[in-house]
């Protein structure tokens, strides 16, 4: 049952034998009400409910308020708070250290769409095995509220004037870069955030979560596209989503009871159930995804949910045909060629 979402207070210890505290981080130093905090909380909940062993996760981030948040969850996991916009390259290299580990990266809209655009696009192409969360608030929080590349055209902020550019659409960017799991959510919708986190974590490859996460200090005016108010008014989920852990038959049946339902079977056998579909939306169809994103953009529609998923594609490490032993546990005998090879080599040198 431990994987049952919102199932009241879950049993004190989960199947990994850990309590929720084992998934917590340091107390947050972010502003009260910052969307980023609610996302951190959902990460804690999701990992706890999924019985994840913290030592099997590496946390990553760039620089920003959002990028600080890995300090606020899963203290027992290794973490790397890297450079502004460079989380993708750090994660790509680090995950080769032990390809059995999964990455959870937290970035911001500035960190990803402004300075980080290049690395973001290329980590998508490589299908690195990690959850890539963009805590998207349309501004640079940590430097006090300048426009980021996801700020909507026409947004005006007192110190900044009016933003003249069309926003970068994180999901659209991920999609055309052939990312294999793409979702959008809203920090004001914690249940959905948590279910998407679980599905993303169960995905094999890169899973992008573009989560509108209001900056209450610099960009939370009711008419701002990244505010709580606007989100509440404009969010319309593409579906209700429920994550079902592998072999959780009971729950699966419950869910399959009602109405039009879509199942997505994930790499690890877990199942994502989609209900109340926005006219039959099929997240496995890339063109459909393009259409919905384009439509959402045109109509100021905050379309949340699982936008696209492709469970077929191998993740980066898999394409490298690596030994099963984590590379960072190989020893001299695996790594240093035998003495006789030196003669072979010299012979090749004319």
């Amino acid at each position: 049952m431990s994987a049952l979402p919102m199932a009241g207070a879950p049993a004190n210890t989960n199947l990994a034998g850990l309590t929720k505290n084992d998934y917590r981080g340091n107390p947050t130093t972010l502003c009260q009400g910052c969307g980023h905090n609610s996302i951190s909380n959902q990460i804690v909940a999701a990992m706890y409910e999924m019985n994840v062993v913290p030592e099997n996760v590496i946390k990553f981030s760039g620089i920003g308020c959002s990028s600080k948040s890995p300090t606020y969850f899963m203290n027992r996991s290794f973490g790397f708070n890297s450079l502004h916009g460079r989380m993708p390259s750090i994660a790509t290299g680090a995950l080769f250290g032990d390809h059995h580990l999964k990455g959870i990266g937290v970035s911001g809209d500035g960190d990803t769409a402004s300075i980080g655009m290049g690395q973001f696009k290329h980590v998508m192409r490589r299908n690195v095995n990690m959850v890539y969360i963009v805590e998207n608030n349309g501004v640079y929080g940590l430097t006090k509220g300048q426009f980021s590349a996801t700020a909507e055209k026409g947004l005006s902020l007192k110190k900044q004037g009016t933003n003249p550019y069309m926003p970068v659409d994180i999901c659209m960017e991920a999609l055309i870069s052939n990312a294999t799991f793409i979702a959008r959510s809203f920090a004001g919708n914690p249940k959905q955030v948590k279910e998407l986190l679980k599905a993303a974590f169960a995905h094999n490859g890169i899973a992008v979560l573009d989560i509108i996460s209001p900056c209450v200090t610099f960009n939370n005016q009711d008419n701002a596209y990244h505010s709580y108010a606007w989100g509440k008014d404009h969010e319309e989920p593409l579906h209700d989503i429920t994550y079902i852990a592998p072999r959780n038959e009971i729950m699966l049946e419950q869910e399959l009871q009602d109405g039009e339902v879509r199942e997505v079977v994930m790499h690890d056998g877990s199942i994502v159930i989609l209900k109340n579909l926005e006219n039959g939306y099929d997240p496995t169809n890339r063109f459909e995804a393009l259409r919905v994103l384009e439509e959402a953009q045109r109509n100021d529609w905050l379309a949340t949910g699982l936008i696209y998923v492709n469970t077929e594609k191998p993740s980066l490490a898999e394409t490298y045909n690596l030994v099963d032993t984590p590379l960072n546990r190989l020893t001299k005998s695996d790594l240093r060629p035998a003495p006789e090879m030196i003669d072979k080599i010299n012979a090749l040198m004319f």
């Binding site: 946390k59 890297s82 290299g93 680090a94 290329h122 690596l322 030196i342």
Partner: protein, 639 residues
């Protein structure tokens, strides 16, 4: 006319992309097989096809491998450079040219040999029309072989090697060689004094380029992760790793123990390497100047977060894009201080093929022992040219992974551990790798302020304490650095300090100075920064020390001055950079231009006289001028 044997230079002028490299390498290898010390340098344009390109081959019975500024034998195949090539023949030299080039030849002081290159291949039935230009190059090999005495058997051997034994191309090319050889025999009369005669000076030696040596050495060092982005002259290093990994890391199960990633740029390449180094892999990247500049911010992070990575910088001449296919030693100063704030970098400076190989594996031991970035400064001349060399040696020491804690270690420590805690007092703390299942193994890495337990901190005292530990780490570093190489001459009063690929040219210059000026000079080739104790002692022992390097600003001179303030006044900078490999000529002249005789009286005239010479010979002039301040004050200081 008395014979000149095994001591002259050949230069071949062709068009790039015309496939002449096979021909030139064949000449080089054949001479090598004859037991004659030989070196080849490719002077190519930053272009793919159709521009003039030159290949120089120097046969040197005395074993000098440095560049020579004189070419006795010139082979002109490219109409576009024909006139220039003709002028470049040394008086009394020989000029071979493809006879379809119909341009005036106005020199009478040299031997002239036309070659019916096109003709001969056209008539060869075994050469398909579209291969004629390619194979045509072999004709001049044959002609030259007959005229200076290259043994055809060795040419055969060179071709066997080049074509990995594939008979068809071998015989096709050998056919053209023979055709040229036979034609020359019947049609050309020897009018020049240059001959090759077998020796035994290359027995047991190999031929290699520095990038291949570095790649193989790195694999013997247990390289596990390579992220790179193409850039001349570093590209062939990463590509060589792709070539040799499969053979050197072969396993029954066919699985891989390594990964090579072609990144989207250098920021990503070094970022991936930092990520991999942090997670416990022997991680590296290779690049050249522009790429190194882009890596600046990440190197600062790796220094401060203490992540071991190895960066090969195959230097080309800058600043900026500069001349992508010309060599240099001008990244030295930058590489010791990459990025904002207080920072240090370990810099290794290989000087030959064996060191490219050795530093390939040693660099990982050093980087992991010190948990910091290591930059290895090679250059285009070493990296891309073929050098004769002693065979590579299997690593003499076992791998040193440095201070790493796994589950059992943490059990023993009962978790009494901090990622940045200096338990041993050497400035080096213990690290753990992601995937370690001990509940106390993890830590959070950051480029921001942190305490001994890797906790975020903005406390000034903690920040300062950590920075001083990092400084201590670089004192500890000295004992792990490769020691300098020292060449001595009995009775030497002056000395030369240099680094990298200039070794052979410096030694040649030392011989010239001794022979022609009676100046005996010892020679220290530094191989690492920080400097080691050997350097400390060396610097003490001479009245004049000439720091010789291929750049404009005298980077090594600056670094040594900073390290040895008490000896500054004896240090004289001989720095010059035009993209060409150092020659004994400019080193000698550069030294003479600043040399001050021990005994004043008559010597002064002598010295100035020499200065003039140097000045006339131009090359190092400006760089010398630019340093006269130092020299003057040098005198002042001596008073």
């Amino acid at each position: 006319m008395n014979k000149v044997v095994n001591d002259f230079s050949i230069i071949v002028g062709t068009k790039n992309g015309s496939g002449s490299s096979t021909a030139n390498n064949t000449i080089l290898r054949a001479i090598f097989k004859m037991g004659i010390p030989v070196s080849g340098k490719n002077l190519f344009p930053s272009n793919i096809q159709g521009l003039p390109t030159w290949y120089t081959i120097r046969a040197s019975k005395d074993g000098y491998l440095g560049r020579r500024e004189i070419n006795e034998i010139v082979i002109a195949i490219n109409p576009d450079s024909f006139t220039r090539d003709l002028e470049s023949v040394a008086p009394g030299g020989a000029f071979f040219y493809a006879d379809h080039i119909r341009l005036p030849i106005n020199r009478t002081d040299i031997a002239i040999y036309p070659m019916p290159v096109k003709e001969l291949v056209k008539n060869d039935p075994n050469v398909p029309a579209d291969f004629r230009d390619l194979v045509g190059n072999m004709v001049y090999v044959g002609v030259l072989a007959h005229m200076i005495g290259i043994d055809l058997g060795n040419i055969q051997a060179a071709l066997d090697f080049h074509f990995k034994g594939k008979q068809k191309p071998i015989s096709m090319n050998m056919g053209a060689v023979n055709a040229g050889y036979e034609w020359a025999k019947t049609n050309l009369e020897k009018k020049d004094p240059f001959y090759l005669e077998p020796m035994d000076k290359t027995k047991g030696m190999i031929m290699a380029d520095g990038n291949t040596a570095a790649a193989i050495g790195s694999i013997f060092g247990g390289a596990q992760f390579v992220a790179w982005y193409p850039i001349t002259p570093a590209t062939s290093l990463a590509e060589a790793m792709n070539d040799y990994f499969p053979m050197l890391r072969k396993r029954e199960d066919g699985k891989h123990t390594y990964a090579v990633v072609q990144a989207e740029d250098e920021l990503a390449a070094v970022g991936m390497a930092v990520g991999a180094g942090w997670s416990g892999l022997r991680a590296m990247t290779s690049t050249s100047g522009p790429g190194l500049s882009l890596m600046t911010e990440f190197v600062g992070l790796a220094y401060y977060a203490e992540v071991p990575i190895v960066i090969w910088d195959i230097q080309r001449i800058g600043p900026s894009t500069g001349l992508p296919t010309r060599t240099s030693q001008a990244d030295l100063r930058f590489s010791t201080n990459m990025g904002h704030g207080d920072s240090d970098t370990i810099v290794l400076m290989p000087g030959n093929m064996n060191e490219c190989f050795d530093f390939g594996w040693q660099s990982f031991d050093i980087a992991e022992r010190l948990q910091t970035p290591v930059v290895i400064l090679s250059d285009l001349d070493m990296g891309m040219n073929q050098w004769m060399s002693k065979p590579f040696e299997y690593p003499k020491t076992p791998m040193d992974r440095g201070k790493v804690l796994f589950e059992k270690d943490l059990d023993e420590l009962k978790g009494n551990w901090g990622r940045y805690l200096d338990k041993d007092g050497d400035g080096i703390a213990y690290r753990t790798f992601p995937g370690n299942k001990h509940p106390l193994s993890s830590y959070f890495t950051r480029g921001t302020g942190h305490d001994e337990y890797a906790r975020y901190s903005e406390d000034g005292g903690i920040f300062h304490r950590n920075m001083m530990r990092l400084k201590k780490k670089f004192v500890t570093a000295k004992q792990y650095m490769p020691k300098p190489v020292v060449f001595k001459t009995p009775g030497a009063k002056v000395a030369i300090i240099a680094y990298g690929s200039t070794e052979s040219a410096v030694n040649e210059a030392r011989d010239l100075l001794a022979k022609e000026q009676g100046i005996k000079a010892d020679f220290l080739r530094v191989r690492a920064i920080p400097f080691t104790q050997e350097a400390d002692e060396f610097v003490r022992n001479y009245d004049q020390i000439f720091v010789v390097e291929m750049n404009r600003d005298g980077h090594l001179h600056q670094l040594i001055s900073w390290e040895y303030p008490e000896h500054v006044m004896k240090l004289k900078s001989v720095a010059f950079g035009d993209g060409m490999p150092a020659s004994a000529k400019w080193i000698r002249e550069g030294i003479l231009a600043q040399y001050t005789e021990p005994k004043p009286a008559k010597s002064v005239k002598k010295a100035t006289a020499k200065k003039k010479v140097a000045v006339k010979k131009a090359a190092p002039k400006k760089s010398v001028a630019s340093k006269t301040k130092t020299v003057k004050s040098g005198k002042k200081g001596a008073k």
